[in-house]
């Protein structure tokens, strides 16, 4: 199973990654246009490494593909994110973890199209819900697995929310995570919840590789830890 991490990069030699990073690219702006370039497996902030570490911790056999979409040039951030996401769909990876989103209404049709492409190619997009009021793409689209945080310290415990747009809840408070420079920290936020669902999806897919995104959601809803009326 390949898991894409669309984030700040992933630190290749971080012990938490256990050597599972197989590919690393970055989106850089060249003459104002976002372009895919090779990356040497570094992480600008530590956040991408944290997400990848959570996934590898729960699903040790996955192969991690990183696309760094955050860089020093902040113009065209939404466009860089879209190019990174497109790369994950075209490659394709089996699951992509998106702990970021775009607030730009102008970018909405682009992400809408990408989310559809992912859905039809059976690339599962797992996105952290943004808790800031206002538009947030692609986490608000129905084909995406949108995840918010719960505070129970159990990586395997997750909830299904029958009242979307937020569909799943996973551990996202005081989560021990890998960080930049081979380090560790303790993180809180929806962006640390999403990788738990990403890992679960990868594990289920490895056992049942033919599942489509909607089937995967049905499976997750059925095995979620909350009791639901029959």
């Amino acid at each position: 199973m390949t898991v894409g991490i669309v984030d700040s990069g992933v630190e290749a030699d971080h012990p938490a990654l256990r050597g599972r990073l197989i590919e690393s690219v970055a989106v850089e702006l060249r003459d104002g246009e976002p372009e895919l370039v090779p990356d040497d497996g570094t992480d600008l902030f530590g956040h991408g490494t944290a997400c990848a570490g959570i996934v590898v911790g729960m699903a040790p056999e996955v192969e991690i593909v990183s696309v760094r979409v955050l860089g020093s040039d902040l113009k065209g951030k939404g466009a860089a994110f879209a190019v990174g996401l497109d790369h994950m769909i075209e490659r394709p990876v089996n699951v992509a973890n998106l702990s970021l989103s775009s607030k730009s209404e102008a970018m909405m049709p682009v992400f809408y199209d990408l989310a559809d492409q992912a859905y039809f190619k059976r690339v599962m997009l797992v996105s952290a819900v943004n808790n800031v009021v206002g538009p947030s793409y692609p986490s608000l689209f129905s084909s995406v697995f949108s995840v918010a945080a719960h505070s129970e310290p159990d990586p395997w415990r997750f909830y299904y929310n029958p009242n979307p747009p937020v569909e799943f809840g996973a551990w996202g408070m005081d989560v021990p995570v890998a960080w930049r420079g081979g380090g560790q920290t303790v993180g809180t936020g929806n962006s640390f919840a999403a990788p738990h669902i990403t890992a679960l999806v990868a594990l289920i897919l490895s056992k049942h590789p033919g599942l489509t995104p909607f089937e995967m959601k049905a499976v997750l809803a059925a095995i979620a830890d909350n009791e639901r009326p029959a």
């Binding site: 530590g46 020093s72 800031v132 505070s151 960080w179 920290t185 303790v186 809180t188 962006s191």
Partner: protein, 266 residues
Amino acid sequence: MPPLDDTAAASDDLRTGLLALQEVARRAAAAGRFQVHAEERLLQLIVDATASLFGAEAASIALFERDPDRLEFRVAGGEQGSDVVGMSVAPTEGIVGYVFSTGESVALSDIASDPRFDRQVAERTGYVPRSVAAVPLVTDEQVVGVLQALDKHSGETFSVRDMELLATFAAQAGAAISGTRVQHDLPLLLASAMRELVPDMTDDQVRALVSTATNGLDADAATPFWALVDQVSRLRDLGEEELDLVGDMLGVVATHQSHRGRFGRR
């Protein structure tokens, strides 16, 4: 200023548009004079409230500024907050940079025990926290800065609920900023208006127009007119009687001017 192409320069519509832009720029600059410190005052209220609500050692707001790109700490509250004001970090640094770049809210704890990452940024700001919660400030679909809270007095880490509350405070700050930032972001505002109005205009043409419209605003700053605007902005705290008096005096000047216009200089 990059030259406008001949067709564009010759167009009457564009000339009319440019005059309108200049007028907008001039009025916005005048409005900016009246609103000096208004943004700071609102933001200060928000960080003070944040520090007190969370029982935090410090709360601060960093706003994105260009040339060079940086996140500048504009206001701070709480016992450990004051040293950070005026300092800047690169938008690619630390938790503040991450939250600004992604628009995602994040809290980290156990920072002080690890010397390798955000501690370096924190050390420059004079106070190394154990835990930090940071949320983006959003105005009109754009992240313009970050609100952060450091270390609860109780020693607890920031919870998911805290992050939601912090986001509510950030929404207030975002509204305050978009209400007072017209002058500050004037060139950006004009450029986006031009792109909206004339979608097929090139970036160079937009830049040229905006530069023409805003040219001279800074040079104008020392003229008697702007000095008067400054004086008027200081009158806001006067009582009703004094304001009546100022109004009467301005009336006399205006009458004098209209007589001079009618009969020529005496």
